[in-house]
């Protein structure tokens, strides 16, 4: 029965004390939340902690969710984003390291490589590293729109910004990724930049 329910219905039932509904909702939504946190932080431990915090938050404050303002999935991404930020700030404070956050936000890039054993693709590894080195607000849109395949509207709701902002950030993020890949793996991306442009 819970599989046929919408996210909003499952949430309401869970908040009324239905454990089965809560379990179904968790199993349906924990994967995207975990992967979002993983792509943002680069750490499976942080991603698990964030996933747990997100669903604990949903248990305690789930009544505040307003279905009219967007889908539950986007709401969970927004909550996860805040917890990832907290984890990153905490990690940054503990590491007490300095970095230029605008161009190379590699504060939480760890040795974890999720595609190392799965994709076996040099391009995927290069893209993964390039994504992880993006500044946070560009990485967010790439993770949501490209890796999580969310719509621009859902990404805008999760990030709390306008749809046009998501679009322009994604465009800028792709340009930055291309620039990074051109430097690290030009033969893989097939971009030479030699052709003249007619900018007049």
């Amino acid at each position: 029965m819970p599989a046929e329910q919408t996210d909003e219905q499952l949430l309401k039932m869970a908040l009324d004390g239905d454990e089965e509904a809560f379990t179904a909702l968790y199993r349906r939504r924990q994967g995207p939340v975990f992967r979002f946190a993983l792509h943002m932080s680069g750490s499976p431990q942080v991603a698990e902690e964030v996933t747990q915090e997100v669903f604990l938050f949903l248990l305690q404050r789930g009544a505040d969710f307003d279905p009219e303002r967007g889908a539950l999935g986007a709401y969970l991404f927004g909550v996860a984003r805040n917890y990832v930020r907290r984890a990153m700030e905490k990690s940054y404070t503990e590491a007490n390291t300095t970095s230029s956050a605008e161009e190379d936000d590699s504060r939480l890039v760890t040795d974890f490589d999720p595609v190392r054993d799965i994709a076996k693709s040099q391009l995927s590894v290069a893209v993964w590293k390039a994504v992880m080195s993006l500044p946070e607000h560009y990485r967010e849109v790439v993770v949501l729109c490209d890796l999580q395949e969310q719509t621009y509207a859902d990404a805008a709701q999760a990030l709390g910004c306008a749809l046009g902002t998501v679009r322009s950030r994604l465009h800028r993020a792709h340009e930055m990724l291309m620039k990074k890949l051109k430097n690290t793996a030009p033969s893989l991306i097939g971009f030479t930049g030699n052709a003249a442009r007619c900018l007049s």
């Binding site: 924990q30 994967g31 939340v33 994709a119 322009s168 097939g190 052709a195 003249a196 442009r197």
Partner: protein
């Protein structure tokens, strides 16, 4: 279309959408991609990037949180009290509101009682002050002939009539100046004054409409000549002055 216009328009589209449009060959963007080698390279390289991102997404699509996370969440779920918590909130809120309303009710009663006490106190004080003023005014009126500055009661009609009697020639030799003559003639007329205004000499022909205001008695020193007497000494006189500043009557004290 220039490359700048193409880049502005391409911002709203994904590279795969651009490639699909290029295949259709019926869009300005696709036409530009077909004409411009740089933009075509840009689209193709972004398409490669998009494919790589998609591959990355697919490769990580199976990653999930461990089973321990679910177990911890279920433990937290079982510890959480759902029903009573929902019911308690309105009750607690109602109790708090009732306590708050009682507090304001008692406060309002106290404020009204305090206002009544202050009102009674101020009323009593105002009444006492008014009584005191009335008594003081009556006492001053009684002492008016002897006081330095006293408000006199209004002139009676009889007094006014007498003040309008013109002076006669029989008293003209008693004074050396015109003012003294007039004063002397009015001394005679003042004989018929009432007891309170006895010895006062009217100094002006007063219109009843003008002279109907309050009057004050001012004791002052006057040159003896001004009082119709010989010598350079001064004499004490009670001068009755109206509220318009004009002298009505006077009398010599010594």
């Amino acid at each position: 279309m220039t490359c700048r216009e193409f880049m502005d328009a391409a911002e709203a589209l994904t590279p795969s959408q651009l490639l699909r449009m290029r295949a259709a060959q019926d869009q300005p963007l696709a036409a530009h991609v077909g004409e411009c080698g740089s933009c075509r390279e840009w689209v193709e390289s972004h398409s490669v990037l998009e494919n790589a991102l998609h591959a990355l997404s697919v490769s990580t699509a199976e990653l999930e949180a461990g089973p321990k996370v679910e177990q911890r969440l279920l433990q937290a779920f079982r510890k959480q009290e759902f029903g009573p918590q929902v019911m308690e909130l309105p009750q607690k809120a109602a109790k708090s509101l009732w306590t708050l309303s009682r507090f304001f009710e008692v406060g309002a009663y106290a404020a009204v009682a305090a206002a009544l006490v202050v009102g009674v106190f101020l009323g009593a004080r105002i009444l006492r002050d008014q009584q005191h003023k009335t008594d003081h005014a009556q006492a001053q009126a009684v002492r008016a002939p002897q006081s330095e500055r006293v408000v006199l009661p209004r002139q009676s009609e009889a007094t006014k009539t007498m003040a309008l009697i013109p002076e006669t020639a029989s008293t003209g030799g008693a004074a050396s100046s015109p003012a003294a003559k007039r004063g002397a003639s009015q001394v005679r007329n003042s004989e018929s004054y009432s007891g309170e205004n006895e010895d006062y000499v009217a100094l002006m022909l007063c219109d009843p409409l003008i002279c109907s205001g309050e009057e004050q008695v001012i004791r002052m020193e006057l040159p003896a000549a001004a009082a119709g007497r010989d010598g350079t000494q001064t004499v004490l006189a009670d001068v009755v002055v109206g509220d318009d500043g004009v002298v009505r009557r006077m009398r010599i004290v010594n």
